[in-house]
């Protein structure tokens, strides 16, 4: 095993997971225009739902995966309907939204810990046990699936936004929600659907992380953080930006600690974030200041 090719593979693997989180996060941010800090916990919900279906109820693992992703989507949809929609109707400030989202995250994390304990869990079966060689580095089957899915999801989102009625309505709401409302677009309906889809993606990310390493109730927070950093690097609200930022972040983290001591791993991601916030807050693909 050569070190540089393996580092490249490691970076791509990390980037794939981050990009799923960033995709959903950007979709929601672009449409509902708020920094959904509660988004991360939906990865844990997806993971634990799969755990519940496969481990506690004994369902087939593939059925559990589908159910788990749908549960995550549904929970996200419910949160939007119960919490965020009401805040929007009251024209709450973005500060209020962020605090509400944090509250959602904390509550759901606590509920998961109560129901399943805070211990690290794994799924009772796996979807793939093979390893492969790409670019001269080793990648497991699960990691390869995660990579493939992240790219597929990106393309599906891009095509939907560009070509479907629903996609254009999302773009309209994202562009100017007031005008969208005035031309008769059901903005709340669009936002609900976006939350459902975004939350499904988060759930899927959580499930894949579960197969690769495992799940724990607080897993969502660090995933969200990476997704947010990736989005800011690539350009918040921009679908391509989120993906670009994610893979970039993967490379920066893994190559960063190649020569520097590993204790600096998190510091590196945050330094990059700060640099972008200071000098290019709109990200690489965002509009110039």
């Amino acid at each position: 095993m050569e070190i540089v090719p393996q580092l490249i593979v490691n970076s791509i693997i990390a980037g794939a997971i981050y990009s799923m989180v960033a995709l959903g996060f950007n979709l929601i941010y672009g449409t509902a225009k708020f920094f959904d800090l509660g988004y991360g916990v939906l990865t844990a919900i997806g993971g634990y739902a799969v755990f519940y279906f496969s481990s506690t109820l004994g369902f087939n693992i593939y059925i559990s995966i589908i159910l788990g992703v749908l549960v995550a989507g549904f929970v996200g949809y419910l949160i939007e309907k119960i919490v965020y929609k009401k805040l929007r109707a009251r024209k709450a400030s973005s500060m209020v939204f962020m605090v509400a989202a944090l509250g959602v995250m904390t509550t759901l994390q606590a509920i998961i810990a109560i129901l399943f304990s805070s211990q690290f869990q794994v799924f009772p079966a796996t979807i793939n046990t093979q390893t492969f060689q790409i670019f001269g580095g080793v990648i497991t089957g699960v990691q390869l699936i995660a990579l493939t899915l992240s790219i597929v999801i990106m393309f599906v989102l891009v095509l939907t936004l560009r070509f479907t009625k629903f996609g254009k309505a999302i773009k309209a709401v994202s562009d100017d929600a007031e005008v969208a409302k005035m031309v008769g677009i059901n903005t709340d309906g669009i936002i609900s659907k976006v939350f459902f889809i975004g939350s499904c993606i988060a759930g899927l990310a959580g499930v894949l992380v579960g197969f690769d390493t495992g799940i724990e109730p607080i897993m969502g927070f660090s995933l969200l953080l990476k997704g947010v950093i990736a989005s800011i690097i690539g350009g918040v609200g921009n679908i391509y930006g989120g993906v670009l930022g994610s893979f970039l972040l993967g490379f920066i983290e893994n190559f960063g600690i190649w020569k520097i001591s590993g204790e600096w791993k998190d510091a590196i991601s945050f330094s990059v974030l700060i640099v972008f916030l200071l000098f290019r807050p709109n990200g690489i693909l965002g509009k110039k200041q």
Binding site: M1, I3, Q6, L7, N10, I13, A14, S117, S118, Q119, F120, Q121, V122, T131, V138, T140, V209, T213, G214, M219, S222, E253, N254, I257, W258, S261, G262, E263, K265, D266
Partner: protein, 362 residues
């Protein structure tokens, strides 16, 4: 209307007052000792915390008959919560001694509060070097050096010449790392990779990559959470690492189950033996059914030793009591406190075989 409300308030106050005074803690009878216990019953460290608690409960059952009172608090695996718990035990419950906490960080946080009240802390933590200046702290495990002595024979027998050290950037991790560095010359290996990693990360692949590139024969991993250490080993194996894996963690078969074949053959040094006194074994079986493990035995021995010592040396304070006491019939063979406030007892090297921890064979 106001009159009715006023009467209701008065009734409530009176009822509340009666209830309060009725349940006010009366002075203790018998030995009058009050023991405060702090354990991580929830949170990351709860697997170990609950086991310790089993042992404490067994000791509690016997000692309460002699009039000793116990107050148990949960640290939630967090130093901040351990401090709140200690504050309550010392200032509200006015305990005579604190038994617990578990992690070094929790212990270091709690020690000053106890010192202010002139009370000692008998921690279940391993004996970190940072405890040396804390004159009121006793620790419950032999220190890292003594624990890691158990792995040296295996290293020598297997002819391991190079080692990679991967340790958490915490008190525990750094102590362990330093111990392995110290042993290198006498055990006959060279450290070819030495890195401290951030805690609870999940993605150790690049560290694993660097380790494999260093061509180490063996890897020594310490993380605050056993699951993270096993994850490092798993990711090493996924990337093709064939060398010997040593994880310096608490042993729990539940953790091994989560890693399947990846954990197979991993060594775990410094484990107390799996045999305990027959008295303790039957006591444990009666209450919890199944065979006891050393964590619960530790909980039992620590609690029993300290409380009995204080009963036999009333008014002398826990530290003096413990040094003047000869502990008979410990659950763990040769359990005793040393003058430097560390413990010593029988230890062994274990390994994972068929998803169970057993005495190591090499």
């Amino acid at each position: 209307m106001k009159k009715i409300v006023g009467i209701l308030v008065i009734i409530l106050v009176v009822v509340g007052g009666i209830y309060f005074f009725k349940n006010k803690p009366t002075s203790t009878k018998g030995s009058g000792l009050k023991v405060g216990v702090i354990l991580p019953l929830t949170g990351d460290l709860s697997i170990t915390g609950e086991k310790l608690y089993q042992g404490v409960q067994l000791a509690q059952a016997q000692l309460e008959k002699e009039g000793v009172k116990f107050v148990v608090e949960d640290s939630h695996s967090k130093p901040t919560d351990a401090v709140s718990a200690a504050s309550k035990l010392l200032n509200v419950d006015k305990v005579d001694v604190i038994i617990g906490t578990y992690s070094p960080d929790e212990t270091i946080a709690v020690a000053p509060l106890a010192l202010k009240e002139n009370k000692d802390v008998f921690s279940f933590s391993f004996c970190s070097d940072s405890f040396k200046p804390l004159t009121n702290v006793f620790c419950g495990y032999p220190n890292a050096d003594k624990q890691l002595d158990t792995v040296v024979p295996m290293i020598q027998k297997k002819g391991i010449k190079t080692m990679a050290l991967v340790d958490a950037n915490s008190d525990f991790g750094i102590n362990s790392r330093d111990a392995m560095v110290r042993k290198a010359p006498s055990a006959g290996y060279t450290v070819v990779y030495n890195e401290l990693v951030p805690n609870a990360n999940g993605d150790y692949r690049t560290f694993a990559t660097k380790i494999i590139a260093s061509k180490a024969d063996s890897v020594f991993v310490t993380m605050d959470n056993p699951v993270d250490a096993l994850t490092v080993v798993k990711q090493l194996r996924e990337l093709g690492f064939k060398g010997t894996a040593i994880t310096f963690v608490d042993v729990d078969n539940k953790n091994l189950e989560k890693f399947g074949s990846f954990g197979e053959g991993t060594f775990a040094p410094g484990i107390a033996p799996s045999q305990f006194s027959s008295d303790y074994t039957s006591m444990y079986k009666a209450k919890f059914s199944g065979t006891p493990d050393y964590v619960s035995a530790l909980g039992y021995d620590m609690t029993t030793y300290v409380v009995k010592a204080m009963e036999e040396n009333p008014g002398k304070g826990s530290k003096t009591a413990v040094f003047n006491y000869k502990y008979k019939n410990p659950a763990i063979e040769n359990f005793s406190f040393l003058e430097d406030r560390t413990v010593v007892y029988q230890l062994e090297l274990q390994m994972a075989k068929n998803q169970q921890y057993v005495k190591a064979e090499y």
